[in-house]
Amino acid sequence: MNEEIKLIWQKFFNWVSGNGPRPENEVIPPEPPPDLPFTQKPKDKYTRFHEATLKERYNQWLEIHGLHIFSLIYSGLSVLTCIVIVCLLLATVAELPPFGDEKNPANNEVIRRYVEHGGHETGAQNIVAGLILDYRAFDTFGESAVLFTAAVSVLMILGVSRRNNIEESSPDLNESGQNFLERAPPVNFHEIRQDDSILRAVASLSIPAILLMGCVVVINGHLTPGGGFSGGAILSTALILCANAFGFERVHKFFNERTFIISSSTALMIYALSKGYSFFTGANHFHSIIPKGTIGNILSGGLILPLNICVGLIVAGTLYGFYALFSRGDI
């Protein structure tokens, strides 16, 4: 009875500290042999303690206790650093203007300008959408580019190596001096179970609804809260759900690496060209052919609607790409 309780406690403890039971096919690195305790360490050449010089004694002591003392000092110092930083920042926060006050210096003439003229200058009812996709559109362009770059670099790191792993373990790589380390085999990505009928039924019911919701959030970005980033995230959840319920092959039929690269870079190009045009005409006081529309209509806000759609495409592709790369190793 006592043993069982101990076993359950051990399991619970492992689960809490993150070493819990894994899926069967995950690689468990082999346990290293435990270090000998201090008392069983093999004796050094000096049989008597006083025969060793002071320096040698110090070196011995350092070898045995050094790492422990270093980690103690390290954790102590880092906790101290964090406490000092938090105290400094708290002292700064105490000097900040009060929370929610309308006389705060942040609520200055910039905000007044954005709110009072944003409506008829950008044509968007949602001031934040007008702000990030019209006044500060290059900032948002940079964000989309950052997201796309991150997806491409993750694709480079994970996708390429996985393709090489199939051809890898060729002898020349092992002979060139890398086989003395016991390399862990590449992480096995779990296969999607093909027989989960509950998941499939729920997914086939909810995926159209999620897609519709995502499209609504993207297309109404200039009228209601939302926009390209949040709508794209919702669209990507539909793709991820589809991949989980019906397998990655189903998604692969209409969304693979090629489609991802083409759609994302086309969206980025359209964004850059159209916004470049609007900034060029605006800065040189030319007449822009882009109509503003009336505030509150779905076809309003000038370029904001197409830009939202571009951003939504990029975000949906990138987030699904992250999921597919991390769970399968390929888009």
């Binding site: 929610g100 990030i132 989309s144």
Partner: protein, 144 residues
């Protein structure tokens, strides 16, 4: 000072949260937990920005109709819209950085078989030493 902190309790919470994240980043030896610490710090920044943009008793920055077909665009009606855009930037960058860091962690796990940064560093130095000793041996052979 405590009164003022209580007045700015959102900002104080954000600062404490960022301290927790920083401690996590420094003390955890597991790389995934380090990345989680980084994400906690990001969240603290969003909380701080959102708190700074709030104005008591005002509406979200989406233009309201005034009842006769026009739009209410007085600046005294809406909260600050700029922090929302800044938080958006922050979220995108944090997602990108997290994904990149996780990809590198996955590669490290594949190579060294561990997520613990100390063990990985030890294996790295061991590898380096063995490589150096091999090079030395080869040089001696050539000289002899």
């Amino acid at each position: 000072m405590l009164e003022k902190l209580f007045l700015n309790h959102y900002e104080a919470a954000a600062v404490i949260l960022s301290g927790i994240g920083l401690t996590n980043l420094l003390l955890q030896r597991n790389l995934i937990k380090k990345i989680i610490g980084l994400n906690i710090m990001d969240t603290a920044v969003y909380l701080f920005l959102a708190a700074k943009g709030y104005v008591e008793g005002r509406a979200a920055p989406i233009l309201l109709e005034n009842g006769s077909g026009g739009w209410l665009n007085s600046a005294n009606l809406y909260v600050n819209p700029v922090p929302a855009g800044l938080v958006l930037t922050g979220i995108v960058v944090s997602v990108s950085v997290t994904a990149f860091a996780l990809a590198l962690t996955l590669k490290l796990y594949e190579y060294y078989g561990t997520l613990n940064i100390d063990e990985a560093l030890m294996k790295m130095t061991q590898e380096q030493q063995e490589l150096e000793s091999k090079i030395d041996d080869a040089e001696e052979e050539v000289l002899a």
